[in-house]
Symmetry: C2
Subunit: 446 residues, 2 copies
């Protein structure tokens, strides 16, 4: 039985308020005539949807980014993405620290000496490191992008730099916003651009705790934590499985990668396998993918990326833990062991809760969207998972949906972004003791 912290419920509430306020400010800015290309005020629902999509680093759009918004509008979106991305990484990392302290576990996320509670110096140190990592990756990607646009596509320096910075930030933050109306389709066979985006997305999607350990590991300082091992392993497995399936399945699809050479197919396959976790760029037209590829992408999007990262979904650790629980159950082992460690029983229940609530959310959304729209299940399910997992991939139906659905999807993106982390934290912090124990009973399962 653990004692309850007096501030148990507060951090999650503060985070939700902070993100909501950022969305509100973003919505107001995006309603101003100055943020629109045509100088007219943008309607409330479009502004709300775009601001939510940017702050929640989703990338779903209802109006073309460079077509509808002015340069000031684009920069507004970029700032919202950067705030959202840094915000979610910081908040998630601090919540992880909070939960670790609560359970007396050591979880090094800063160079500060670890104390019983979170002190301001430590918070500042974590924020500083997150900003440092983020800006470093963003600058590298922006540089590759800029140089490549100038050398390969005859861009002037100013245009190349603007595009480089925009897509560097958008890629690292898994935001999926693009200045090109075809997302990254024009770069489908360009290894420089494609690989820069892929690497930025993967790094952004690993999560700060893993990045921090990677950094210390490179200097030979620590052992891997179970969390980092699971994250890296599962990310790798999902990439390989997704890449293999998607590449084979789309190999001869004339509307996607059928017309490309073998290197182009492999590059496009890797791109398509990386983006569901959860960047949302596409280098082949999403709406033209095979129905089975869409379903596999649904699964990848649902799983998402690493904890305390710019990716969303139920997270690769949640997915992997459930697999380990099932494995232990099939082997008939009373406790779950993962890589030489015993898995805390409470974590198992938390993983189950996060995963099944996400399934319920996706099902309810899909059923609602199916009832309202005339689009087929594969497209509706895809859009629903893309919103909940804040991926931003789209078969193209989002823009066609009625305003009421846009408001609903805005709410979904918000829940999808903040739900798993605040839920998991709240669950971890709110364990409550019972005074007495009731007699045990075993209903029949299966």
């Amino acid at each position: 039985m653990r004692k309850a912290l007096p501030t148990a419920g507060h951090p999650a509430r503060a985070v939700i308020m902070g993100f909501a306020a950022t969305v509100a400010v973003g919505t107001i800015l995006l309603m101003l005539p100055i943020t629109a290309e045509n100088g007219q005020a943008t309607d409330f629902v479009t502004a709300l949807f775009t601001a939510t999509s940017a702050v929640c680093i989703t990338g779903l759009i209802v109006v073309d980014t460079s077509g509808h918004w002015s340069t000031f509008g684009e920069i507004t979106i970029l700032v919202l993405i950067q705030i959202g991305g840094l915000g979610i990484m910081t908040v998630a990392s601090l919540m992880v620290l909070l939960v670790s302290r609560r359970f007396g576990l050591r979880m090094q996320l800063s160079a500060q000496r670890e104390t019983k509670s979170l002190d301001l110096g430590e918070v500042r140190d974590v924020v500083r490191r997150i900003v440092l990592i983020s800006i470093t990756v963003e600058v590298i990607v922006a540089t590759v992008f800029t140089v490549r646009l100038m050398s390969g596509y005859d861009y002037g320096f100013g245009d190349a730099l603007y595009s480089g910075v925009f897509h560097g930030i958008s890629a690292y933050n898994n935001a999926g916003f693009s200045l090109y109306s075809d997302s990254m389709e024009r770069f489908v066979s360009d290894p420089w651009i494609s690989l820069a985006v892929i690497i930025a997305v993967i790094i952004g999607g690993l999560g700060f705790p893993v990045l921090f350990e990677l950094g210390r590991r490179l200097r030979g300082k620590i052992h891997w934590s179970m969390h980092s091992k699971i994250t890296l392993l599962t990310t790798g497995v999902l990439l390989v499985v997704g890449f293999t399936y998607i590449t084979i399945n789309e190999w001869q699809n004339a509307d996607t990668m059928g017309g490309l050479g073998v290197p182009g197919k492999l590059l496009a396959g890797l791109f398509a396998a990386t983006m569901p976790r959860s960047a949302g760029f596409n280098s082949v037209p999403t709406g033209e993918l095979e129905s089975s590829t869409l379903l596999v992408t649904d699964v990848l999007m649902f799983i998402g990326g690493g904890s305390a990262s710019t990716a969303a979904g139920i997270k690769v650790t949640t997915f992997a833990l459930l697999a380990f629980v099932i494995l232990a159950e099939i082997r008939g082992e009373p406790t779950v062991h993962v890589m030489g460690r015993r898995l805390a029983a409470t974590v198992q229940r938390q993983a189950l809760t996060v995963a099944l609530l996400a399934v319920a959310l996706v099902m309810l959304t899909t059923i609602t969207m199916l009832s309202i729209s005339e689009h087929p299940l594969d497209e509706v399910l895809f859009e629903s998972v893309s919103a909940v997992a804040t991926v931003g991939l789209s078969t193209g139906i989002t823009a066609d949906l009625p305003p009421g659905m846009h408001v609903m999807m805005s709410i979904l993106m918000f829940i999808g972004r903040l739900g798993p982390i605040t839920l998991a934290t709240a669950l971890a912090l709110r364990d409550r003791p019972r005074r007495y124990e009731l007699p045990e009973e075993r209903p029949i399962v299966g």
Copy 2:
């Protein structure tokens, strides 16, 4: 730590062999010229699919039942259904008893004095009671059917009785086979036939442990077990939710219940809400249902019916237990309480395992079927869930699939029928002690 029974793995294996042997005999019989209406030998895949569908009481068909098969063929199918239905209820009940004994729990399924192990007298008593209940319900339904066909549809006694017996057995066993090529569509507004089928399906789908307790309860003898309370409550909730959603959603669909009067709509809605658990009859054309109704039906089929019943799916208890676990987790309670009892921790993991493996099976099947066929996701998902949950509802694509898919679906029906019960039993019986405990660790969830 519990001691392992020496016979732990055996019962499941014997059951699987028994069912496989019955399917094999059925396949051979259905390949004979005498079982076909046209006197020609039926091909292997069609015979295998039909025999599996009958023994696994699924009801999916690749050839029209009364059109393709002779009367001898129809009776062969009926016998396979009866063997499959009685077999699954008996086997499941005995496994439940075995597991209960293993954990020192009292689980009354017979009037015999309970002993430490299962003795032959008790097994005989359980079988006797199951046969008694089954035949009683089947006779009542057959009688209602026969009288109604004679009084309302000008059937002669012989034809009416044959149809009554066939559909009585098919309904109680949740088999879904019908002598009518439109299943029950001709009876959509007939309350006698519809309600008889609905009631038979619900009773068959509750499961013997619940029926046995209901019988004792009527004689005022015992308290409800947690299992019976959960089964009855969840069955009721799913019926009400399914009925409400389907009736409202299909109210104006001209291809399903749009043309019916209000009583007809309500009856058709109740019929459509009952059949996914897991009878597989339809009184409105399944292929014409709204896409959203199909998805809701998918969910209902996936959940299925009661344990040790003629229904399949992951079972209503599994579904309800997971909901209780989530509820406890959200409330921050360290142990899960259900209706005044503490839920055994091992049961939670079993429920998780059964449910998630079923999800994985459905996803893999759907992805495979999508890759091979050209049918849209809603139809493929529906057929896949229908096979795995051995429901037998069909949007009509099953007959069109290639023979290879028919073999795969035969295997699926077999796994769907025997998987959950043998898996759950094996899991419950195979808990294995660990010699030492590894240090605990908490990865980040969500």
